[in-house]
């Protein structure tokens, strides 16, 4: 029996718990088997058909599937009208730059372009034995339905999924795979199916991120994306503040820029889709979603939201303190109400609803995290204040009771989950970047496991929402540029949390898989008794390039756990900022590296057997003498040289202290650097300037 703080998101797509991946020593499904299940075995392989393949979605997804299915030799039929403007050829360049010309050519070699008139499928199609149709034709219900009928009558057993932006599955009569922009690279799909299908599991096995959502008019992403847009438009209507400026404020306070996003996606299409989504939503839920006149105008005209280049704005509009209250009420009030509706309707797992906002709609924190952090009372007050400004919105679709259970783990553990079998626990990170929320949730997960009497733990990504772990969320550093105490608190608190992994468990195992584990996340993982990595994962400390000084003990902890003969490697890693492959890190940064499932098995072995399986690399607690000179790759870049020096100084100072004092020493160094001119001139400073200085 596996007990968990909350349901793992992996379970929502039928792939079980993360714990069982480790206890069974294998992934729930693998790509080769799933390909066989969906397209038939080698020798009798069928094809994938993408209809509307010249469109924005069709062409993007053609590239994505093409690259991921290349090794399985699945023919991909690109179906469209004969006269449709070619959307595929322009994709080739991007494909070649991502995968190299040779791979790009091989990917394209599997693409078969077929044209038809919309009524009679090309006879050639039969010979290609279509198994799966991904429909990406225009958002017109009857046209889509007729299209499905055409395929069903010709190919009775075919699996069909629609990329529709908002028609429910029950209207379309097929399952839904709603993709997120940009379509070539975004791995996220909102999935509507009665049961998780073999194709959905194939998407997962191919490294994509299917997210189960419920069958409603418009799915989670579009409620958030279009909902934010209409909230911004209403604010514009009330204040006349121009779209571009509202975008800057939304970006400052919440992360996205909805108007820019429409222009970038292509205003003509995006305006229509947003209007369409809001129109459907308002038909069902009332004025909360009603498109404004400006949206109708932009839908009908297809015009951009940002001014033309020759009309760059001239008059500044700033929002003062009172104004920013208003702004928050207009935007957050409406978003919170929309979120309450989605929770009420159980549209998805909470973590998924929250992550869709972050991963697909550029929210710095998902709306659930925002509500939770604000608290139920304050969140409700914001919605009520919004209703004073927009009374019609109050008539429908407000579910304050959705906020009643903020104490439940569904709310409290949006990013971090814990599971155990009574013996070994698994802590999963569902956010690629570490921030205060993750920190707090990780602490709660540790508390929970301890309360459950679990002394052995594996720390890992969640095998679903995270496909890599990129390090600290640099947004959290913005206030630290001006306030030393904030930088210090971040470094000190996060390090303290990380230390719990070492001190509060009998055995802790960090498991690294996915594309990369960098910066703060790698630092976090360094605190575990054992570190197991996949051979192919990239491990690195890119802080020097930002620059910041690592503040979760990377500057001394790994030195204390390896012999002086390995220090040169650590210093190279920290000062050059280049990643190394997992397989090259054993003994100085990690304890074990292997391919895929072998690594998973070892993580389990170490977690359950501890030192019986492998001795722990102990922490050398007293001070270390580190020679101050190590050769590093030469650079002319003064900023890099200065950052290297700051990091080297931190290494010397924190290694020179004992393990206990080192916590404070490195926090001090990290915080101090954050207030330096160099940091301000660098990535963090520039991002802060761009985002916060509106």
């Amino acid at each position: 029996m596996i007990k968990s703080m909350r349901q793992s998101t992996l379970e929502t797509i039928g792939l079980g718990s993360v714990h069982s991946i480790f206890s069974k020593g294998k992934l729930p499904v693998n790509a080769a088997e799933q390909v066989d299940k969906v397209f038939g075995p080698v020798g009798n392989r069928g094809s994938l058909v993408i209809s509307g393949a010249n469109g924005i979605v069709g062409a993007g997804k053609l590239m994505q599937f093409g690259s991921r299915l290349k090794d399985y030799n699945i023919p991909i039929v690109a179906l469209d009208f004969p006269g449709a403007p070619d959307g595929i050829t322009p994709q080739y360049k991007g494909l070649a730059s991502s995968f190299g010309k040779k791979n790009a050519d091989e990917i394209m070699a599997n693409v078969i372009r077929l044209n038809y008139d919309g009524n009679n499928l090309p006879s050639l199609l039969k010979s290609l034995n279509p198994k799966f149709l991904l429909e990406a034709i225009p958002e017109i219900l009857n046209v889509k339905k007729a299209h499905f009928e055409l395929f069903r009558s010709n190919f009775p057993g075919i699996e069909i999924r629609s990329v529709t932006s908002g028609f429910p599955s029950k209207e379309l009569g097929v399952g839904i795979y709603h993709p997120a922009f940009p379509h070539q690279i975004n791995k996220i799909w909102e999935v509507v199916e009665n049961e998780p299908s073999e194709i959905t599991k194939l998407l997962w096995a191919l490294g994509m991120i299917p997210m189960a959502v419920s069958d409603e008019w418009s799915f989670v992403l579009d409620v958030l994306f279009c909902g934010l847009m209409v909230s911004a438009l209403r604010y514009n209507r009330a204040t006349n503040i121009p779209f571009w400026k509202i975008d800057k404020y939304i970006r400052k306070f919440f992360g996205p820029n909805p108007f820019r996003a429409h222009d970038v996606i292509g205003a003509k299409g995006a305006n229509f889709l947003t209007w369409n989504c809001l129109h459907d939503l308002s038909t069902k839920y009332g004025d909360l979603f009603a498109p404004t006149e400006a949206l109708v105008e932009h839908k009908d005209s297809g015009q951009n939201w940002y001014p033309l280049n020759h009309l760059r704005p001239m008059v500044n509009t700033t929002i003062d303190a009172a104004g920013s209250m208003q702004f928050n009420i207009w935007i957050l009030g409406s978003l919170f109400q929309m979120t309450s509706l989605m929770i009420h309707e159980k549209r998805s797992h909470f973590s998924i609803m929250n992550s869709v906002g972050e991963l697909c709609a550029q929210f710095r924190k998902g709306t659930l995290a925002l509500m939770r952090n604000m608290g139920a009372e304050q969140s409700k007050r914001i919605v009520e204040a919004y209703h004073k400004l927009h009374p019609e919105a109050a008539l429908n679709a407000w579910h304050p009771e959705a906020l009643d259970n903020l104490d439940s783990n569904d709310w409290k553990q949006l990013y971090v989950n814990a599971e155990h079998d009574g013996e070994v626990g698994v802590i999963t990170l569902g956010r690629e970047a570490y921030n205060d929320d993750v920190n707090a949730e990780l602490n709660r997960a540790i508390d929970w496991l301890k309360a459950e009497n679990i002394h052995k733990v594996i720390l890992t990504g969640d095998f679903h929402l995270t496909t890599q772990l990129v390090g600290a969320d640099t947004n959290e550093f913005f206030p630290a540029l001006d306030h030393h105490n904030i930088g210090y608190r971040i470094s000190y608190q996060w390090s303290k949390t990380a230390r719990r992994l070492y001190h509060e468990f009998e055995t802790s195992v960090a498991f690294i898989n996915g594309k990369r584990c960098l910066g703060g996340m790698l630092e976090l993982f360094q605190h575990c008794h054992y570190i197991v990595t996949d051979d192919d994962s990239d491990l690195g400390a890119p802080e020097v390039n930002l620059p910041v000084v690592p503040g979760m003990e990377m500057c001394h902890l790994p030195f204390r756990r390896t012999g002086s003969d390995n220090w040169a490697k650590l210093i190279k890693l920290l000062l050059e900022g280049r990643s190394v492959k997992g397989k090259d890190t054993v003994g100085w940064l990690t304890d074990y590296s292997a391919q895929g499932e072998a690594a998973i098995k070892m993580a389990w072995e170490l977690a359950s057997k501890g030192e019986l399986a492998m001795p722990k690399r102990k922490i050398h607690e007293s001070s270390l003498y580190i020679p101050s000179f190590y050769p590093t790759a030469p650079t002319e870049n003064k900023n890099i040289l200065e950052a290297r020096k700051a990091i080297m100084d931190t290494i010397l100072a924190s290694c020179g202290a004992n393990y206990h004092e080192a916590l404070k020493v490195q926090s001090e160094c990290s915080a101090k650097f954050m207030t330096s001119d160099l940091c301000r001139k660098g990535f963090v400073g520039q991002e802060a300037e761009k985002t916060m200085n509106v």
């Binding site: 209507r237 009330a238 760059r312 704005p313 001239m314 008059v315 500044n316």
Partner: protein, 402 residues
């Protein structure tokens, strides 16, 4: 005395107005902007401050006098810059523009052309354009004309310069230089009192101008260039024409002004003080004999009083657009009115002369002052190129103290 409005359906919602400050020629970032685009964006900003959503407008009457880039596109373009795609039209009649635009908007509401018409006037004298006109019959064959300065210097109908129209009128009306200096001195005092009391801040809105990169390039937050002046200094100035010195005439400046005209119901909805009712009573124009512009305003006022049956005793607030101080003196003499009682919050003689928006700003100040007094009639008048005088009367409901 109750006088019927010539536009009984048109009302001005109290407070839904504003103007930029009017920085002097070449003294602010306004010298560097496309003034039409600036005015449109500023209108949206000001209306936002006044809590008027731009989408309540369905028409825009605009006015300016100095050619600007893209002027061809007129009101529709300006409305787009203000974020509201409505039709409308642009009008131009030298310094009469700012008052005519208000009446034109009232006419649009009265005639059913508009429900809520914006009024937007503006001009940039700085960096004013030079037009190149093929003129076959002129000996140069092609004439280059610096719009502001060359026109000031030469009225093609009379062959005279603008300044001469003031000197001629001063001589005709036997105006005394000393009185004109004293009058000017008072006008400055009135302006600074209005500034210090916070009155101007009620109607003028500080604006920040952005550069191409979207960074703040400067602020338009004062009538830059206005400096207090002593009576001695005024006396000591060289006379350029009779009673005209550099101190007793205005200076070129840049700026914009905006307001709304709408129906009674809509005015109540849009105004922060719905009980204050503002109506437009009447408007007349008059034309003096050649090169006597400075007496034209008095002629227009006389005609308007006659038409409405009002007397100067009925008027609560009097505002004169006075590019020459002589204008006020002639008006006072002709109407037997004490010039101390007028232009109490400042006037174009002091804050400058951007042409298009001048009389709109003056009207806004007049209305605000009348509201502050608890209501009554406001008389706004002035001169305009071509020896024209224009005068209008507004009525603010009694008791509507803001």
């Amino acid at each position: 005395m109750n006088v019927e409005s010539i536009f009984p359906k048109a009302h001005i919602p109290y407070g839904t107005w504003g103007a930029s400050y009017f920085p002097a020629w070449q003294s602010s970032p306004l010298a560097e902007v496309n003034i039409g685009q600036f005015a449109g964006e500023a209108m949206a900003y000001i209306m936002g401050k006044r809590k008027v959503p731009m989408n309540s407008l369905d028409y825009l009457v605009s006015g300016s006098t100095i050619p600007w880039h893209w002027k061809f596109w007129g009101s529709p373009f300006l409305a787009s810059c203000a974020g509201q795609r409505v039709p409308g039209y642009h009008l131009e009649q030298a310094c009469a523009t700012g008052l005519k635009a208000i009446f034109a908007a009232a006419g649009a509401v009265q005639g059913g052309l508009a429900n809520v018409s914006g009024v937007l006037t503006f001009d940039r004298t700085s960096d004013s354009p030079v037009g190149v006109f093929p003129e076959r019959r002129s000996y140069e064959r092609t004439v280059a004309l610096s719009d502001v300065w060359d026109n000031f210097g030469f009225d093609p109908a009379t062959g005279g310069a603008m300044i001469a129209t003031a000197g001629n009128a001063a001589r005709k009306h036997k105006i005394d230089r000393k009185e004109v200096d004293e009058l000017t001195f008072l006008r400055y005092k009135q302006y600074f009192q209005a500034l210090d009391s916070g009155f101007l801040a009620k109607v003028l809105v500080p604006l920040e101008v952005l550069n191409l990169q979207g960074k703040v390039m400067g602020k338009i937050d004062s009538d830059a260039g206005v400096r207090s002046i002593s009576l001695e200094a005024l006396h000591s100035q060289r006379e350029l024409d009779t009673c005209v010195t550099s101190g007793t005439q205005t200076h070129a400046s840049d700026g914009m002004a905006t307001m709304l005209v709408t129906t009674k119901e809509k005015a109540r909805e849009l105004s922060s003080q719905p009980d204050i009712d503002i109506q437009i009573i009447g408007l007349v124009e008059a034309r003096a004999l050649p090169s006597l512009m400075a007496e034209a305003p008095a002629m227009a006022v006389k005609k308007l009083l006659q038409q409405t049956g009002l007397t100067m005793n009925d008027i609560a607030v009097v505002k004169d657009h006075n590019p020459f101080a002589v204008n006020d003196a002639i008006f006072a003499k002709e109407l037997n009115y004490d010039w101390h009682n007028m232009n109490k919050t400042g006037c174009p003689l002091v804050w400058g002369h951007p042409q298009g928006p001048t009389l709109t700003r003056l009207s806004i100040e007049a209305l605000q002052e009348t509201v502050d007094l608890g209501g009554g009639y406001a008389l706004v008048f002035g001169c305009a190129a071509g020896d024209v005088g224009i005068a209008g009367i507004f009525k603010v409901s009694e008791g509507g103290k803001a």
